[in-house]
């Protein structure tokens, strides 16, 4: 893999940022949650854009990963993000019935019902994983979801996976 070097280097970079740029995890003592957000291209990513276009304010906690449909989000991505130390994982897609691909988000919904149930039963703080429906016109809702979810995570504290050594 040609990229290993780059990725390795990058990991170091992120973990020991240069002066002047703090990593979100160390926001001057206050806990700044880091949230991975999977946004579907057609509704939620557009909704997030709209939040920006209308200059809404929201915490800088969530970094978006664009996918074509919320149904592209393999629950293993959520697990991977979680085990890698993300404090929260947001998956957002079109409202049920509005999927750009007809039925994708119905499967997302069942998959996440399952995922959340497993996390809950394992005592893994299922509230760190959130599935939300945000349409392309719901810039305001998107900002609310991010704000609320950030608050939830802030209350929950840092992801315990970060401090557990032998996973």
């Amino acid at each position: 893999m040609a990229d290993d070097g780059a990725a390795r280097q990058l990991d170091k970079e992120i973990l020991s940022p240069k002066p002047g740029i703090q990593s979100p995890a160390e926001g001057g003592g206050d806990f700044q949650p880091r949230i991975v957000g999977f946004l579907c291209n057609w509704c939620s990513y557009a909704g997030a854009d709209l939040a920006g276009v209308t200059r809404l304010k929201m915490p800088p906690s969530m970094v978006a990963i664009r996918v074509m449909c919320s149904s592209r989000v393999d629950p293993l991505f959520v697990l991977k993000a979680f085990l890698a130390g993300a404090d929260g994982v947001l998956v957002a897609g079109c409202h049920p019935g509005d999927c750009h691909y007809q039925t994708g988000n119905y499967y997302t919904r069942r998959r996440f019902a399952l995922t959340l149930k497993v996390l809950e039963e394992l005592g893994l703080e299922a509230n760190r994983v959130r599935l939300s429906w945000v349409s392309a016109s719901e810039g305001g809702r998107f900002a609310e979801v991010v704000t609320e979810f950030t608050e939830t995570i802030r209350k929950a504290g840092p992801n315990p996976a970060k401090t557990e050594v032998f996973l």
């Binding site: 854009d49 276009v53 800088p60 991977k80 691909y101």
Partner: protein, 644 residues
């Protein structure tokens, strides 16, 4: 070879530049292994910016590009073109959005800078894993299959049949024209329907590049958009379309008489017949189920009567194969059988008829030559129209019944000036620019509208019909000679079979399901298969024709004779070595784009049908399916970039 990544952070004038410390980010990423260069630019999407990007790609010999700028929905395509012009596969560019989703929503510059940095890091992490994607084109058939020869099907045929493109029209009945050919007048123009559609029928029958298969059915379809192979069963007609001149000499001697379904059972026809006077093509058909000869009797009456030797009892069904690029379904609709709703007395009481039966009574080519008569041969002195028959049971408003009932009331008013006319309605549905005035007009003409809200019950009353309406205690009764029911419109009976053959879905009411009710009301979820007219939902003639035109336009723009079809580049691909053949992906695909390779027992994605949603990718437990441009490795790299 190590990748050479170029990182370009756009300031977007002050939009990003004032909110994010762009230079700090640029400085910060410069040292990362693999990053060959990192620069900021004031406005990458400008002509100047695009030139800059191109010269960078060439000058720095970049193998990957990361652009941090606005949302990819704005200029990703433009930037991709610039990459392509500079000789870099456009899918080797990774964009990240630091404007809408960062600069514009984070007032604190330090925090915005942090977030932007995370986004850029995630993109840099992902960049080496990007893979070049070649845009594929496939050879396609421009020819089209149209199923159903009603007004929608005719419109589709005529729009599509042009130079270099053949259209195959398959119609299950012996004639084309659909329901409209059997109406005397149509709303809102109140013009003669047969006159209106006759030119279209003639053109369809005569046009060189339209091949019409009447008395035929689609038996099988294989393949997908651009390359369907269809089998058409042309049922034996027993009358040669070439030899017959349509003189009708064969009808008279036929000893069989059966109820004529094309007159809604109001007349009799022979076992050799044309559905109604003026039906096209004007070639009779032998109804095998009723013909004496096919029941084993020695009868050659029609054959002997034919002066042209056009009749052949040895005629056999023929299965004809055609290659087409698209399929337009226009199989139309029928009316709910009101026998299912006994309160209206249909089928039990004389002179309770459906609107379609009244249409035939009113038609010059109908059983009475256009005279509206009761069973006893007299003209009715009073008629009750009952709207919304079956609306409650069907749970949808058919949308056309009010207007056609108003049309019929208007015609009856002109035809029977002294008759009392009543309309029992629940809600009057007369949208569109011309309809309301017809309602106003029949009200002016003395047609009495009574709001019965679905309470109508019809009983026999001393040779007349008692129409009771209202609730039990306050119920009132009107006595009439004839009751005309306006039953709900439902898909024609063959829709289920056709949906099965095509593997296309139907909605809760049994109509073909459109891809999107508002944005793609003419398409099905199957690429290249369209559903137009009343088979997609109840429609009047104008709407059916408009929808057919829309579908035809879609076909015209995508299937151009002699040109290849560009496929969606970001599709799913199955690694057959990893596939366990569990078919989960096949169950989930909304576009029926995945099939099973029977030999190998593994799944295969049809790139002409896949739209790249990735539903199947996430569902595959073996990780055997990859979504191009959204691979697992790419997404995990992004996660790692973000989540540390």
């Amino acid at each position: 070879m190590a990748e050479r990544i170029g990182v370009y952070v756009c300031k977007c004038g002050p939009n990003i530049g004032d909110k994010v410390d762009v230079d700090a980010i640029v400085d910060d990423v410069k040292g990362i292994e693999g990053v060959a260069t990192a620069k900021s630019h004031n406005l990458l999407c400008s002509a100047d910016g695009l030139e800059f990007l191109k010269s960078e790609i060439e000058g720095e010999k970049l193998t990957r590009v990361v652009v941090a700028a606005c949302t990819p929905k704005m200029y990703e395509q433009k930037l991709m073109r610039a990459c392509e012009e500079a000789g870099l596969n456009p899918f080797l560019m990774q964009m990240t959005n630091i404007r809408e989703q960062c600069a514009w929503v984070t007032p604190d510059k330090a925090l915005a800078t942090r977030k932007a940095r995370s986004l850029v890091m995630a993109a840099i992490n992902r960049a080496p894993l990007l893979e070049p994607i070649e845009r594929k084109e496939i050879e396609v058939q421009a020819d089209v299959l149209v199923v159903g020869g009603g007004v929608a099907g005719l419109e589709a045929c005529l729009s599509l049949a042009q130079k270099g493109r053949k259209v195959y029209l398959v119609e299950k009945s012996p004639c084309i024209g659909g329901l409209a050919a059997r109406f005397e007048e149509v709303y809102p123009t109140m013009e003669c329907a047969p006159c209106m559609i006759a030119p279209e029928l003639q053109e369809v029958l005569q046009k060189e590049n339209i091949e019409v298969f009447t008395h035929s059915e689609v038996e099988e379809t294989l393949g997908s958009f651009g390359n369907f192979s269809v089998k058409i069963r042309r049922k034996a007609r027993y009358v040669s379309e070439e030899a017959c001149i349509g003189c009708g000499a064969c009808f008279e001697p036929c000893p069989v008489e059966v109820s004529n379904e094309y007159d809604e059972g109001l007349s009799k026809r022979k076992a050799i017949y044309v559905p109604f006077a003026g039906a096209l093509p004007n070639v009779p058909v032998i109804d095998k189920d009723n013909c004496k000869r096919f029941k084993g009797e020695e009868c050659r009456a029609c054959e002997q009567a034919c002066p042209f030797g056009a009749i052949s009892f040895d005629d056999k069904d023929e299965v004809i194969e055609r290659k087409v690029g698209a399929i337009i379904l226009a199989t139309g609709a029928t009316l709910l059988d009101p026998k299912a709703l006994p309160q209206y007395g249909y089928g039990k009481l004389d002179n309770v008829v459906t609107a379609l039966q009244l249409e035939r009574l009113n038609a010059s080519n109908g059983p009475t030559g256009g005279k509206v008569l009761l069973k006893n041969g007299k003209e009715p002195k009073s008629i009750a129209f009952v709207f919304c028959v079956g609306r409650k049971e069907k749970e949808y408003c058919s949308g056309i019944c009010c207007m056609y009932s108003i049309k019929l009331a208007h015609i009856m008013r002109e035809k029977l000036p002294d008759a009392k006319l009543y309309c029992f309605y629940s809600d009057i549905c007369v949208p569109k620019k011309e309809h309301q005035q017809w309602y106003d007009r029949v009200v002016d003409q003395g047609v009495e509208f009574i709001r019965s809200n679905g309470t109508v019950a019809v009983t026999a009353d001393k040779g007349k019909l008692a129409v009771k309406h209202g609730t039990d205690s306050s119920g009132k009764t009107v006595s009439v000679d004839m009751v005309v029911l306006a039953p709900a419109v439902e898909p024609s009976s063959d829709i289920e079979k056709l949906a099965g053959i095509l593997d296309t879905s139907r909605d809760d009411h049994g109509f073909f399901c459109e891809e999107h009710a508002l944005m793609k009301p003419f398409a099905t979820a199957l690429e290249g298969v369209f559903a137009v007219g009343s088979c997609q939902g109840p429609k009047d003639i104008g709407d059916a024709v408009a929808q057919a035109g829309a579908a035809a336009g879609r076909v015209l723009s995508r299937l151009v004779p002699g040109e290849k079809l560009a496929l969606e580049p970001m599709v799913a691909v199955v690694d057959e070595d990893l596939c366990s053949g569990c078919k989960t992906c096949i169950l989930l695909c909304p576009y029926s784009a995945i099939t099973r390779d029977k030999e190998k027992g593994t799944s295969v994605v049809d790139e002409a049908l896949c739209r790249g949603c990735g539903t199947c990718v996430a569902a595959c437990p073996s990780g055997a399916i990859t979504a191009k441009q959204f691979t697992r490795e790419q997404i995990l790299a992004e996660i790692k970039g973000v989540a540390k």
